[in-house]
């Protein structure tokens, strides 16, 4: 899709980040009740039962009703809690969850400039060159919400939940970082849009028909050898405290874990934070391993659909995967969780990263995406940024 | 206009705060945090001076300082946990085996 530079005297390209910001937040807030509904319906289907069916058609308004109920619930706080921190915790959770979404590469917009040139602008809130690190940083801050909530509630179940949460988040962040590093190693950049660009070439640099350029086969889930995507997916589930890694809020052991003492809107904020986190890490998954806004095949019906639709589709795929897992697996024991994180995924990730490093040494002298000059990129120029293997043929 | 000196002064203030914190606190964990603050203040001046001279070397030092800080904290907290197990307290004024 090509947009004009000026619409009604408004200079469009500088506005793109704001559009992205508004779009992201608006979309997330809008989709949240839908997400909960989807989850409930999907689980119900998987468990062969009816699921929500009272409020609205097929129970579609059930979540809205729940939100309304939460709004009007009494806002209680424990007497012996550390009130300031107790209030701070849910805010932190939501804040971190939302801010992580700021670098997701929704789509690339192309503007037809007044002087005849074309300019591509990423539809991203902040397309920073340390995008991956930014996401890691922000998601590492998420642990504070859990820890502080657990501690400030002054409740031993909450404290246990908080401790579990912090240990779990720190442990799995390592594996997550390793998986992401594999992608960074192959794309040569930390900027998410460029990582997406790096997936838009021919699969493995093979001389295949045009239709495979940027197709599902050239995305990094395959390009980095499947192991990183598996590690990342497991780690992202653990990072968001979802089943089967939902130990910090294990209802059968710890009542509700770190948010036992939270009710009403504060609870709703935790809930929001959790779902936003799911969306964000799924979005990161989509951008890193599943080609972001790229269509699965480079042919007409797919390429006509705008990139952000593909992106959202992939995110929704991630959400479905979450739900599927939740319906399938029992919760892990705590030691099994640590065992998996430290003794299985971390060594595997390290070894795989090392192997990939060796492979990429043999591939070509690192031609980093950072080297590409910042100017309007045309389709022909994009070909030149493909791995050298193509150029040599 | 913000000059390098602004950053250096800020760094000095943060560093002094850390020093005073080390001296007045009795909780070794908080003392540790103050030490981390001092390290950060030093890092800040490293980066400011590196920017001043247009060199990336200042940032190199910070990377190593970060790594060393991480190592120091892990061992230090390990020691604190071990001391707590042995003495049921971590008050630095009660850890006085050296006192005759």
């Amino acid at each position: 899709m090509i947009f004009p530079e000026f619409v009604g005297g408004v200079h469009l390209p500088p506005l793109v980040p704001y559009i992205a910001l508004a779009g992201t937040i608006g979309f997330i807030l809008m989709i949240l009740p839908g997400l909960i509904w989807i989850e409930r319906v999907v689980i119900a289907l998987m468990q062969d039962r009816s699921g929500p069916n009272r409020v609205g058609p097929r129970g579609l308004l059930q979540s809205t009703a729940d939100v309304v109920k939460l709004f009007f619930k009494e806002d209680m706080s424990p007497k012996s809690a550390d009130i300031k921190i107790y209030y701070l915790a849910p805010f932190l959770t939501v804040l971190c969850a939302f801010s992580a979404g700021g670098v997701l590469p929704l789509q690339t917009l192309t503007f037809h400039l007044a002087n005849g040139d074309f300019q591509t602008v990423p539809l991203t809130v902040g397309d920073v060159n340390i995008g991956v690190l930014y996401i890691l940083a922000v998601s590492s801050l998420q642990v504070y919400g859990v820890v502080l909530a657990g501690w400030a509630s002054n409740n031993k179940y909450s404290l246990l939940g908080g401790l579990r949460g912090s240990a779990q988040l720190i442990s799995y962040e390592l594996s997550m970082g390793l998986a992401i590093l594999c992608v960074v190693l192959f794309s040569g950049t930390c900027q998410l849009n460029k990582i997406v660009d790096a997936q838009s070439g021919a699969p493995f640099g093979l001389p295949l028909p045009e239709i495979f350029n940027g197709s599902i086969f050239s995305w990094f889930w395959l390009g980095t050898g499947i192991i990183p995507v598996v590690i990342y997916t497991i780690a992202m589930i653990a990072e968001t405290n979802r089943a089967p890694f939902d130990l910090p809020e294990a209802e059968s052991e710890l009542i509700a874990g770190f948010h036992t003492e939270y009710s009403s809107m504060k609870f709703a904020m935790f809930f929001t934070g959790e779902y936003v986190s799911m969306l964000v890490v799924s979005g990161l998954n989509a951008a890193l391993f599943w080609g972001g806004p790229l269509p699965p095949l480079n042919i007409i019906p797919f390429t006509l659909i705008p990139g952000f639709v593909w992106f959202i589709t992939k995110v929704m795929g991630g959400i479905f995967f979450y739900t599927w897992l939740r319906a399938t697996y029992p919760r892990l024991r705590y030691d099994a969780l640590m065992h998996l994180g430290w003794k299985r995924m971390l060594p595997l990730g390290l070894v795989w990263l090392f192997l990939l490093a060796v492979v990429s040494l043999g591939r070509s002298p690192a031609k980093s995406a950072d080297n590409v000059p910042e100017k309007p990129v045309t389709a022909t120029q994009q070909v030149q940024t493909l791995p050298n293997a193509v150029a040599h043929r | 206009m913000i000059t390098t000196s602004h950053f250096l002064v800020l760094s000095a203030i943060l560093f002094t705060t850390g020093v005073v914190g080390v001296l007045v606190k009795r909780n070794p964990i908080v003392i540790f945090m103050c030490v981390e603050l001092m390290l950060n203040a030093a890092n800040l001046s490293f980066i400011a001076l590196g920017r001043h001279f247009g060199q990336v070397n200042g940032q190199m030092y910070v990377i190593f300082a970060l790594a060393v800080a991480a190592a120091e904290v892990s061992v230090g907290l390990g020691i604190i946990v071990a001391i707590f197990r042995a003495k049921e307290t971590i008050n630095v004024d009660e850890i006085n085996l050296m006192k005759s």
């Binding site: 642990v143 | 020093v19 001296l23 990336v56 790594a67 390990g78």
Partner: protein, 172 residues
Amino acid sequence: MVTVIAFWVLAILSVVASIAMVVTKNPVRSALALVGTFLCVAALYILLSAQFIAAVQVIVYAGAIMVLFLFVIMLLNLGSPGALRERGSLQPVIATGMGICFLIALLLSGSLIKLRLPAGARPEVYEPLGTVRGIGINLFDPKQPWLFPFEATSILLLVAVVGAIIMAKRKV
């Protein structure tokens, strides 16, 4: 203009947070104040065009080190204020006085040093200064002295990991 405002806001915030860390009696609040200071410092790093360091600062300090602190505080249950009550002594007074003297001395000495640019240095901020690429190329450049410290640091970290486990484990 944005930079000036950002600097003053962040500077004041970081100083306030650091003083709050020292003053407050509750270790958890101290830790939170310190996290605030770290975040402000990280933002200042971005002002200094050290994006990579800023991200690492958040990941390592805020995301790992301070969580470890909080973890230990909670583990030892030192959270309740007054668990370590300060006894009356002259130490804090002397320390504060001496600290102020120290600060004044630092500032004085700073005023005596002229920051001169060496010949050939580029005072302006150039693009790859703080990016992952700029740092990485410098760090692994055989002509630069950083390669050996880098390897040494990795060994240091390994030793620290082993040491921490030995220290903290009940039975080895």
